[in-house]
Amino acid sequence: MNIQNVNHLVHAYKIAPWRIQRQWIGNALLVVVVLAMIATLYLDVTSQAAIAGREIQDLTTSISASQQASADLQTQLASLTSARVMEQRAFEIGFRPMESGEAEYLVVPGYSVLEPDILSSAPILQLSALTIPPEYNESLLDWVDKKIANSARGAQ
């Protein structure tokens, strides 16, 4: 096949009547595919956000339940180690109250006086609505709304 034949074919393709129609169909299909992709992406992101939101709600409930269970156990433990119970257990295993004359005071090198316990745990970091950028909690429609509103405000 020489160059002349190739040029003939290219020319024939360029003047073919169905070429324009196929271009239109191709463009239309491209638009449909792009729209479908955006819709799929939007659905995917929205559903994931909804699932994450539901998980947050569930976790919030779980945290409350865990805190309540923890408080229950803490109170139960305190009851089991209360002064009266501990004294009773000490009696049962053979201890008895010490008489004042029986006390022997020893100097223990390095011993430090028992200081009150620091009961607080490390502060829990808490995300609040103010610290979350809008990109993480607004939907595509919210974003479009905001852009339109901003541009309208800018035009005014």
Partner: protein
Amino acid sequence: MRQQYARRVQALAGAMGLIALAIIVQMTRIQNSPEAAIFRQQASNYAYELRTFYPDRGEIYDRNGHLLAGNKSVYEIGVDLSIVKDPHAIATAISVELGKDYSQVIGAIQNPPEGLSYVVLADYVDVEQALKLQELKKTLQEQAEEGVLGGLTGLEFKSHPQRSYPENSLGSNVIGFVSREGRGYFGIEEKYDTLLAGSPVQAFVPTDPNKAFEIPRVLNGTTLVLTINRDLQASAEQILDEALATYGADNGTIIVMDPRNGELLAMAVTPRMDLNQFWNYGTIYNYASEFNPAISMPYEPGSVTKILTMAAALDSGSVTPGTTYLDTGSILVGGAIIQNWNQEPWGMQDMTGCLQHSLNVCMATLSTQMGAGTFYGYMDGFGFGHLTGVDLAGEAAGRLKLPGDEDWYPVDLGTNSFGQGVSATPIQIMMAASSIANHGRTVTPHALYAMVRDGRQYDVPAQFAGSPISEQTANTLS
């Protein structure tokens, strides 16, 4: 042929286009119809629900981390009247498991107040009992035929926290208690009620999971760490009980305080109350002042006041430790004769002998020698007649009569010197005497060591209250 095919295709495309357009038009019409507005309004009604978040009440610990007041779960058990299947089964289960009257329960279910769809059958039910009922409900549901509701359908369980005191009556006078309405009474529970309870938050909570971040954060009440040492408190209470039994006394008080910083390490009184059964309050106490007499029940302190009179006499320069006087066994003050406790003369005594033998005549001699102005100035400085400012609810100030008061007589100058004719609470005497042990300085007694809020601990500093006597006088006396 090709033209005909092209026309068919165009017609089909046109039809498809029209259908698509019709769908879009219909969608737009529906979205903007009056019905849509109604549905949108209905949806917005369910988009948020108004909820009140009650923070957990803060815990109370002793200085070594032993829990003195905490929270435990209890259940409210009620009936959702709209789905009740068998009221008799519910009434039977409740009466058997919780000991409630069957007829009352069945009456509450079958004849509820008008407009109610939920009726509370029992509240503050222990976890074990609630779990038993929950198991029974589940079993009956499993035993029921498929598609048929179980006999206890409609029985609802709602858990909520309740105050619990693991040490029962230990330190009850210091801690106080919380009523079922959540209000603190007496002691720390009342004094720091606002801090412990936290602030309820009322908020619209979104039901939309996409707005989960709007769920408000509710801070629990502040946790308090007391200066009280649980084991010391237990020992003090035991010693007090034994002493009362030995001497046949009705009531007594022991206070252990660090005079350097005012920290109360133990405060034992009688009678005490099991805080988990606070509803017995009325049967144990006749008056509110009996709950913690150490701070709220003034008494005539008697001879313990002598060290304060002596401190005043030394500090004002009226006497020195070596000053002597001749004890004749009585002295005339304001027209009344004051005698020693044994009504005997003790002869020549110095100031040490005065205190050693607890001589009333000596003390009256000192107070008259100082004069009313000086003597009462010192007593006022020691805190007689004033609140100490201790951080426990219900403190009483006692009374110190002063010259010029309608009920003050000259003889009071003599009797007040050995603690008669004045009234003070044990904590006032403790604070006054602590100045002698603390180089002349008094510190406000307090039971709060630290507050823990939002993961941070805030220590409570000691508060200087005054210097009724000089350091030199305090050192001489001690």
